[in-house]
Amino acid sequence: MWRGLWTLAAQAARGPRRLCTRRSSGAPAPGSGATIFALSSGQGRCGIAVIRTSGPASGHALRILTAPRDLPLARHASLRLLSDPRSGEPLDRALVLWFPGPQSFTGEDCVEFHVHGGPAVVSGVLQALGSVPGLRPAEAGEFTRRAFANGKLNLTEVEGLADLIHAETEAQRRQALRQLDGELGHLCRGWAETLTKALAHVEAYIDFGEDDNLEEGVLEQGRKPVSIVSPEPGTTRDVLETPVDLAGFPVLLSDTAGLREGVGPVEQEGVRRARERLEQADLILAMLDASDLASPSSCNFLATVVASVGAQSPSDSSQRLLLVLNKSDLLSPEGPGPGPDLPPHLLLSCLTGEGLDGLLEALRKELAAVCGDPSTDPPLLTRARHQHHLQGCLDALGHYKQSKDLALAAEALRVARGHLTRLTGGGGTEEILDIIFQDFCVGK
């Protein structure tokens, strides 16, 4: 029955979908067997960035990123085109170096990618590496640790590097904290809270279930957090919003009042709110009456909203707009069309359904563009780290689902929570006990 908690955990895990582009369930177990990768040059903008891998899958990763070319000559710089193994999209033309073990820094098979230093390139290569099975981002100091374990470093070298790593870890921590002030941090903290609560209830069932008959209570309490949905501040009553799944993307659809001038005070308020919503939207579906394009309100709308979004260069703005002309059935089939000066648009007839497929296809493309790049923030290392921990959390929750033994299941929840708290901080046992005693009357 405690398995009911799974729904809760699954909900908690569902959130990171946008971030966890890696879908492979067979994520490599952390351990010396895994192949690790990291940006080895400094952060920020620089001419050249060096990305390193170490471990048995290094050669494989290099081959995949430089397909169809074979491995370059060992310890020789070679120019290769790197492309994303998932999409085949080219990432960068880069110098690559192949160091088969044991003659490498760590003693394992190593690869160095010397790429152009732009954040987009580095991020792209790191994400491409992350998508190769058997590869995961390196922990702080892990390259050095491996080098040492394989007898590649002596004491003084290690000590010097240790200081360096310490500094690096510190920078990483600060960077992680900075990034966590934002929305992502808010989201992670929310998930961590949900998991903490779930764990507390499983722990309560383990420590007190037998004597105190907590079983029923645990599940009731455990299900509650499921109802938490993404908090959307500022939702107004007159803007109707529904979360929908459009072509696989989670989308919040807002239906606003039509933008009309010279209406009564109540509708004016509706229009004001619609405009406000318009500014926040990632994608605007501007709907006009195809047979009424000459009317003043239509002209005004085209001039202010459509033109202003269209005027921004695509790279400056994350906002996109689709102009849709409804009531196409009212246009005469032989006529000249709605108008020659119009920006790109789609014709639709809600009455006949004509043009609906085209609209959906266009929507899918736009959404892919909006959601494809999940974050516009550049910090690269921390992003790989976030992805790693979120993936780790997800994997652990998968183990939770499979476990028949409740102690093992609880362990999976502990690991999942551990991954999240490494992003958010906190995570002590007292926190769990506090929840237990707050929620349950335990003790005979």
Binding site: P30, A140, I206, L408, G443
Partner: protein, 680 residues
């Protein structure tokens, strides 16, 4: 190799120092010359008895001082031992050759393992214990322990001398002063005074000083400790009323029968003293709104509830349950107090209402309509010493050679007390012989978690063991406490008997051998399916599957495996415990990627060839992680420190393996000598 299957209970074999007298009972404190002991233990409760016998097992001449010899081993509250987390502690106490598990196997009246459906890591061994039998058996054991002397007397003060310069602390304890003014000298002193430090009993609006109903509190000692500068706090706890058995209508209540077969607490016992069919049942009933009403109407008559002193959240009185969780029915377990006891203990009804109202409330409860209250429930408030003032070996920072164990450190529960008692006894003795302290780490046992939590975090409510406090819960299981602690207890502390040590060694090597054999047997899944048809082995992929992986299926055990592959597996089913433990070992085998072991005897504070900050050294010293992986999880231990540690361990290992090759023969000779010495 020697091991004892089916040997009932046994007495610790005598140590080499046979010239010392066996335990004796001395009531004559005014002996002609001032007596001198290695270790003095003050208090004969669950911490004191374990501390005294552990010190004696370690070879120290030990004196147990108690108010009254006839209260040694008294169970002052619930008539039960063990439970979830607590059962783990008992197994660990037993692994260190402590008493309580063995005594419980001789004194229980209802044995039941909790959490049976939840995986072996969280099974909770528990039993209802006959109070009278427990006390009798404990006293018999105490009075027959070699090197242990028992004496009646109340301690009023400590004798203090100059500190040893090589240790921290502003002075050193060298003995005690009794109420009658006489003195006893000792090298180490252990305080296990329970709730007696300025103990105060509360019923309704009445209070009177007492450590336990009918026993005097210790006031002089509390003042001494305060004067020395110890930070003192106040805690409270309570106990329910006792009800006459014949006044309860059990026929309308829910009856709970014990397990069959009974699982003993001690590794050394195959069975318990009593057959399951002769054991006593427990009964379950519930409170109702009328109980709530009586509590709420009479709050003004209940000073214990109004107090701000912290009580345990997990063992609340019925009053606080009603206040915090109103409009609910709370469970009341009716537990037997013993085979021939006419008392019943209503677990869940701890209360401090005025005595006459207690009976009124109880008679509202189903089955208890005509119940007679024989002894009212009461609350106890007592002093405890902030446990952050003691080291992980339980010695105080302030006073050298003074140790605290049990409720005095802010814990609650017999098992928590016993666990600290063993550790204090061992360390008091090691201190006398100038050996390094014996510390159990968080990665080694529940005892380690308990002591680490207390000494690093302190506590603001009576501290109880929970499995949720334990980070390494999957590997710290009741079944493997011997592998974790018995070998260390024998080698590092000297508190474990030869027999127990050999048995633990045999078990450990048999398990290792069994697992490697199970790994070596490989068949295609289709063949396994034919061999063990009842197992739900998937044959969709024709890959070779190891016997070890087949054992992971719920419906497969060593018996079914041995039936399928008699050679070489048959021999692992001959010993029941071994067969069961092989199965459990396999269930937990999920996450062992941190293979690199850290040496147990590493002294983090002094090792020189490794660059570690002082802060990191202290953290490692306190936590004593078993593996590099565990070390990296300790908050505050930096990746840089891990690398340095790794380097250190690697070079040490290389050096040692070179040395071991040359000195293996020497080692064998040495071991043989030691064995002979012990057998003398």
């Amino acid at each position: 190799m020697f091991y004892f299957r089916g040997c009932g209970r046994w007495v610790a074999v005598s140590f080499t120092k046979q010239q010392f007298p066996l335990a004796r009972l001395s009531s004559d404190s005014a002996a002609p010359r001032t007596p001198h002991f290695d270790v003095i233990v003050i208090g004969g409760g669950h911490a004191g008895t374990e501390a005294a016998t552990a010190a004696a097992r370690c070879g120290s001449r030990t004196l147990l001082l108690t108010h009254r010899v006839d209260t040694i081993g008294q169970m002052s509250c619930n008539p039960s031992f063990g439970g979830i987390g607590k059962g783990h502690l008992m197994r660990e106490v037993d692994a260190l050759d402590g008493l309580c598990s063995r005594i419980c196997d001789q004194s229980g009246v209802h044995y039941k393992v909790l959490n049976r459906r939840k995986g072996p890591a969280v099974w909770g061994l528990r039993a209802q214990i006959d109070r009278k039998l427990y006390k009798q058996n404990m006293q018999k054991e105490i009075l027959n322990t070699p090197l242990l002397t028992v004496q009646e007397g109340a301690v009023e003060d400590l004798i203090l001398t100059e500190p040893e310069p090589e240790h921290t602390g502003k002075c050193r304890v060298s003995g005690v002063v009794l109420v009658d003014g006489s003195t006893v000298y000792a090298e180490s002193v252990i305080l296990t005074t329970g709730t007696f430090l300025r103990g105060m009993i509360v019923i309704g609006l009445e209070t009177h000083p007492a450590g336990r109903l009918g026993d005097q509190p210790s006031i002089g000692l509390a003042q001494t400790l305060e004067k020395l500068g110890f930070v003192v706090g106040r805690l409270k706890t309570g106990t329910p009323p006792r009800i006459a058995k014949e006044s309860i209508n059990f026929s309308i209540l829910n009856k709970h029968i014990p397990d069959n077969p009974s699982i003993p607490f001690s590794f050394t016992n195959e069975t318990v003293w009593i057959k399951p069919e002769d054991q006593l049942p427990c009964y379950l009933t519930h409170t109702n709104p009328r109980v709530d009403e009586i509590v709420l109407k009479n709050l003004h008559l209940n000073s214990h509830v109004k107090e701000t002193t912290r009580g345990p959240r997990y063992c609340p009185s019925i009053e606080s349950k009603v206040l915090r969780f109103p409009n609910r029915l709370h469970q009341v377990w009716l537990e037997p107090e013993g085979m021939d006891s006419d008392l019943i203990y209503p677990q869940g009804l701890s209360m401090t209402l005025p005595a006459e109202l207690q009976e009124k409330m109880i008679t509202c409860i189903r089955g208890l309509e005509k119940a007679k209250v024989i002894q009212p429930g009461y609350g106890v408030q007592y002093d405890y010493l902030d446990p952050r003032q003691i080291t992980p070996s339980l010695e105080t920072h302030l006073v050298q050679r003074l140790f605290f164990a049990g409720q005095i450190n802010g814990t609650t529960g017999y098992e928590e007390a016993a666990a600290q008692g063993v550790i204090a006894g061992i360390n008091a003795s090691l201190r006398v012989s100038r050996k390094p302290p014996f510390v159990v780490s968080r990665t080694e046992g529940y005892i380690g978690v308990l002591i680490d939590d207390l000494t690093t975090l302190g506590t603001s409510e009576p501290y109880r063991m929970f499995t949720s406090r334990v980070e390494f819960r999957l590997s710290l299981r009741p079944d493997n406490a011997d592998s974790r602690l018995t070998l260390r207890g024998y080698k590092d502390a000297g508190c474990v008997s030869q027999q127990r040590y050999e048995r633990a060694c045999w078990m450990k090597s048999s398990l290792e051998e069994g697992i490697s054999v199970l790994k070596s047997i490989e068949f295609l899944s289709s063949k396994w399916k034919k061999l063990i048809p009842e197992a739900s082995i998937s044959t969709s992929r024709s890959l070779p599957v190891r016997a070890l992986d087949v054992l992971k299926y719920e419906e497969v055990d060593m018996d079914s495996l041995a039936k399928a592959v008699p050679e070489p597996l048959k021999k692992y089913t001959k010993c029941r415990e071994l067969a069961e433990r092989l199965k459990i070992e396999e269930i937990k085998g999920v996450q062992q990627d941190e293979a690199l072991q850290l040496p147990k005897d590493l002294d983090y504070l002094t090792i020189r060839d490794v660059s570690l900050s002082h802060e990191v050294r202290e953290k490692l010293h306190f936590s004593r992680p078993q593996t590099i992986g565990a070390a990296s999880r300790i908050p505050g231990v930096t990746p840089a420190a891990i690398i340095n540690l790794l380097r250190f361990v690697k070079t040490t290992q290389r050096r040692q393996s070179a040395m071991n090759e040359s000195s293996k023969t020497d080692q064998y000779l040495c071991d043989a000598d030691r064995l002979q010495e012990r057998e003398l």
